[in-house]
């Protein structure tokens, strides 16, 4: 057999009916993740057609997008943004009960952002195909799974048949050579990569991140990288599983146990691109050149080192973006006054992200006039963070410590910024109005977000003499 890429190996193993000129492949789905926003119309479709779920055992649901991140009211009710948001949550609870889907709802100790809890529970495993009605499903590619977002019609297809109709995408290798400098995070790296290949550079491709700098990343960091593949237009991003992956997964609830674990790992070790496998496109990135990186425009491809001058607009869209952001060509983003800081989202809400922010904030105070929200990605992250006392670091600094959810990343639960406010955000999209109508979003790492909260301006976290405790802990 000719050498195959990691993507091709996973794809080939899931083809139920091969593609032809006239028809796409029927591709089997191992894990279907579900949340309240993109599923109700699919459940309705099933009901209207009198269909059942083919494999409810391969589904996992949670509540994350429309859920409030403030605690329950004194009377036990939850502070939903509006009646529709509450109705949407109730609808998923009803649907899961009626169709027999495992739901990590309000009463679950494992509830959280869908892309945080899938891996935490060990539901996400190497070599799987994973889909969800959510474009950041690419996150799960960090484990060597082929994971991508689908629309609601396709959510219905998977519910009824456990399969999707798919054309085989092209492949792009992103070789990241060298290593990240001290104080530079995976978020800086992926913003740098998107800034390099462009917001549509990955359209039509599945990305495979590889090279020494990728192998050196922790699982949390790999998830941050793969999460933002869609921001370059790629539906999926993959990283070959290795010892880091296996060590992270071992013992998690849904993973195989005992002898089955050893057998699974033996299979997973073959999940890497063969020597000589060819990609449709290859890109090289020098990790050592990555600096603290932020966005200056209204899509994630408009990203630069925070100390680099903002480029002049070359077309009407860029003019509009710079006007909207009030970014000034020729001047760096560093030093721009900040109104709101958000640490959270499926990109950066895991324990290591919170540690990264807390390490900058510890013993310091958020600048006057800056509002800072810290929203853990899941109940498990919240428990672990509180066990370490991170919540006290945040609240002592003047930040708000919230209940898990998507929160201000998508701003549909009431957590939002006011028109004109500048938000330094660890989330994944800086589109116009994404964090509230008229709100201006600057994407950044948790460390940069924390440093900017302290300074009241976009600031370099390395100026806060932060020790990179996370890497030290990993090394220990």
């Amino acid at each position: 057999m000719s050498p195959r890429t990691l993507f091709e190996k996973v794809w080939d193993a899931h083809v139920v009916v091969p593609e032809t000129t006239d028809t796409p492949a029927v591709l089997y789905v191992d894990l279907h993740l579900v949340h309240e926003v993109t599923s109700p119309q699919a459940f309705s479709e099933l009901r209207e057609r009198g269909l059942q779920l083919r494999r409810p055992d391969r589904m996992l649901a949670t509540l994350d997008h429309s859920t409030p991140t403030l605690p329950t009211n004194a009377d036990g009710t939850r502070p939903y943004a509006n009646a529709e948001a509450q109705a949407q949550v109730t609808q998923l609870e009803t649907n899961c009960r009626e169709f027999g889907v495992e739901l990590h709802g309000w009463d679950s100790a494992d509830r959280g952002i869908v892309h945080v809890i899938g891996p935490e529970l060990g539901a996400t495993q190497p070599g799987m195909t994973i889909v969800c009605g959510d474009s950041h499903t690419s996150t799960h590619g960090a484990f060597g799974a082929l994971a991508f977002g689908i629309g609601t019609t396709e959510v219905g297809h998977v519910m009824a048949t456990q399969c999707l109709l798919q054309r085989k995408p092209k492949t792009m290798a992103i070789h990241v050579d060298g290593r990240l400098a001290a104080g530079i995070s995976a978020k800086d790296l992926i913003l740098h990569i998107i800034g390099t290949i462009g917001v549509d550079g990955g359209t039509g491709y599945v990305l495979e991140y590889r090279g020494a700098a990728i192998e050196a990343l922790s699982m949390d960091e790999r998830m941050t990288v793969c999460n933002m593949s869609i921001e370059a237009g790629a539906r999926a991003g993959l990283i070959a599983p290795d010892e880091t992956t296996f060590a992270w997964l071992k013992g998690r609830p849904r993973t195989p146990q005992g002898a089955a674990w050893d057998a699974a790992v033996a299979t997973w070790r073959a999940l890497r691109s063969d020597d000589g496998a060819s990609y449709d496109r290859e890109v090289r990135i020098d990790a050592s050149a990555v600096k603290p990186t932020v966005t200056y425009g209204t899509h994630p491809g408009m990203a630069i080192a925070m100390d680099a001058p903002v480029p002049a607009a070359t077309n009407a869209q860029e003019h509009r973006a710079l006007d909207y952001m009030q970014s000034k060509p020729g001047q760096p983003m560093q030093g721009t006054p900040v109104d709101v800081v958000f640490v959270g989202s499926c990109t950066n809400s895991r324990l290591s992200d919170l540690r990264e922010a807390a390490n900058v904030l510890r013993g310091r105070r958020v600048a006057n006039g800056v509002r800072m929200l810290v929203v853990p990605g899941s109940e498990a992250v919240r428990r672990d963070a509180e066990r370490e006392g991170l919540h006290q670091v945040f609240t002592a600094a003047g930040a708000e410590w919230r209940v898990p959810g998507c929160s201000m990343c998508i701003a549909m639960n009431g957590d939002l910024a006011q028109p004109g406010q500048l938000v330094v955000s660890t989330s994944n999209r800086n589109f116009e109005g994404r964090q509230g109508k008229g709100a201006r979003t600057v994407l950044a790492s948790p460390a940069t977000a924390a440093a900017s909260a302290l300074a009241g301006r976009i600031a370099d976290p390395r100026d806060y003499a932060v020790h990179d405790n996370r890497r030290q802990e990993q090394a220990a």
Binding site: Q41, G151, R235, T298, Q317
Partner: protein, 193 residues
């Protein structure tokens, strides 16, 4: 889905590149549990002024854009989220086709499944159409060309299965369900492995 063979309309132009799904329908409107009635929210934050009146600067609010069901959009239309609310909103607003030199993958797939013609055309022709709003076009799905008023033709290629489904109103879920035996066979093999 109703079969779609051709669309005949003048064009309206949204020249901005990278018009993302949040601009097509802001996330705060995603709390709906149905597909219907999203047209009034389409391009909400661009289309309306703070007092709720129409924003005259929004291209589709201008008088010459009224009644146009073909939109020529800047490159990379539909980037961002997988929300199918974006094509639902566009269709309900009256848009039946989007022409562009590049369209985001997930949006394109969602659009075609709902009968919204998301059509990729050559860059040169795209640039020309962007500069000539209001031109009368006929999109022929069967023959895969766009007819210009002067008799010229712009060719395009749809993914063959998507085209077949559009022309014949094929229910894709029904098509997938016909493969039930193959799916069962796959699951049995997987179990045995």
């Amino acid at each position: 889905m109703k079969p779609i063979t051709r669309i005949h309309s003048r064009t309206a132009v949204l020249a901005d590149e990278n018009i993302d799904t949040d601009r097509i329908i802001p996330a705060r409107f995603l709390t709906t549990t149905t597909r219907e009635g999203l047209g009034k929210l389409c391009f909400n934050d661009w289309r309306y002024q703070a007092d709720g009146s129409d924003n005259p600067a929004f291209p589709l609010n201008q008088s010459q854009a009224q009644g146009c069901s073909i939109v020529v959009a800047g490159r990379n239309f539909g980037c961002g989220s997988s929300r199918e609310h974006a094509p639902w909103a566009l269709l309900d607003y009256g848009v039946q086709a989007v022409l562009c030199s590049e369209i985001a993958d997930i949006f394109r797939g969602n659009a075609l499944k709902n009968g919204l013609l998301a059509i990729v055309i050559d860059e040169l022709e795209h640039r020309w159409l962007l500069k000539h709003p209001g031109i009368e076009l006929v999109i022929d799905v069967r023959e895969q060309f766009i007819a210009l008023p002067d008799g010229g033709r712009i060719p395009f290629r749809l993914e063959p299965f998507a085209r077949h489904c559009l022309l014949n109103g094929v229910d894709q879920l029904g098509y997938l369900l016909q493969h039930a035996d193959a799916i069962t066979h796959y699951e049995q093999q997987e179990k045995a492995a």
